[in-house]
Symmetry: C2
Subunit: 274 residues, 2 copies
Amino acid sequence: MQVKLAKSYGFCFGVRRAIKLAENKPNGITLGPLIHNAKEINRLKDKFNVVVNENIQEIPKDAEVIIRTHGITKEDLQKLKEKTKNITDATCPFVTKPQEICEKMSNEGYGIIIFGDEKHPEVKGVMSYCKTIPLVVESLEALKKAKIPDKVALISQTTKNIELFLEIADFLIRHCSECRVFNTICNATFDNQESARNLAKEVDIMVIVGGKNSSNTKQLYNISKEYCEDCYLIEDFQELHREWFKGKKLCGVSAGASTPNWIINEVVETIQKY
Amino acid sequence: MQVKLAKSYGFCFGVRRAIKLAENKPNGITLGPLIHNAKEINRLKDKFNVVVNENIQEIPKDAEVIIRTHGITKEDLQKLKEKTKNITDATCPFVTKPQEICEKMSNEGYGIIIFGDEKHPEVKGVMSYCKTIPLVVESLEALKKAKIPDKVALISQTTKNIELFLEIADFLIRHCSECRVFNTICNATFDNQESARNLAKEVDIMVIVGGKNSSNTKQLYNISKEYCEDCYLIEDFQELHREWFKGKKLCGVSAGASTPNWIINEVVETIQKY
């Protein structure tokens, strides 16, 4: 089976930076998983004894703590600072930005609209910087049911789909006298999405490699599925099934921003052997 | 021939207000035509001796001057104030708004993008409030050729088409880190456009009544033409041709924001007689 990789895929700047920071803090604790990739988290544990703890109460006093790429809430940051001074902030700078915008715009009296998943840690973190209650929507349909202020600031979870973001922006522009749109979708996400879209158009089958709880990986899957019906989302090569590839000639591969190269390579090598 | 009027058409708030202001200043001079409707301008001249003068140099000292609905440039306002204290400002409040936004946003360092016709008096007026050189575009194609700043404020000529405005907004949101969108398309324009669109879908022929130099009238014509191929733009009943209506059953009628009811009524009555 011939394999073609997307022009842009896998590790983004924020993930690469976070892993480097974590590797430099052996025996450290990350508050929740550093990135959304269980296998890379296991590698950090095995090689650097960097462990995950979801519960801020359980963090020992003065512990070496690493803040995850998705950021944490303002309240948790406060609690953490009371426990320890040894904090390494691996929040992706592209996530820090919407946090700051949220704080500033809500202070200036704009109604805050966040396009994102309110259960995702990144969005929880961003929401916590809002001085008023933000409206968090995952679709235009949800927005249509909500009461919309006359002056709004719109931001996006960094890993969301630009087309859906624009649908939401358009609706707000129609209905508000001022709509401040901050395109906080990160470039890596955008590039990976564009590349997956282009690749999906020319292949017989698409395989997306990434964590099943990773937002940006899910977007890559949804976008590819639009253009290539035979599309699969897997976490590693062990989830591949030989029968998927029967009668196919060209397989496209892309990967989420938190998928390390060694996992992608294993997938590519396995498919090439079919 | 059966005639159906659009749900919303004709005189808007700003035009109605301007005419009332002019009627209250008999023997006054308007700097350029008060509204884009030659027949109504003639009526004001015949009944109230309100005359038009395009040239600010020719305005006599201390004359009674009425500023047109489309507004004038900041420089002309200054010159006018040096000539006379007797100024009645009939600028539509919906036009004053983009002037203020332009001034404020350019002061705050945003690149100004105006969706409109740079030769239209309203846009000339709005542009003059900009501290920097604004980018004025009439289409997405024109915008694509321009150099776009990273932080922009987008406004629209009040009489433009919302769908094209959103195309431009979407492009800017994709390419800028912040895009402040001010929906300055006036409600009357929006309502008239929506009503013309709905009516055009159900009739055999559409007649739009309004000045040929009127921006909002041209929009009504373009929108109607999309849904009803037999669409005509006329200034008054004398431009109607009986043969247009051969084999048609239902005629839709709409009119621009500067078209007085007496002109529309003459058109409707003429068509009904066919």
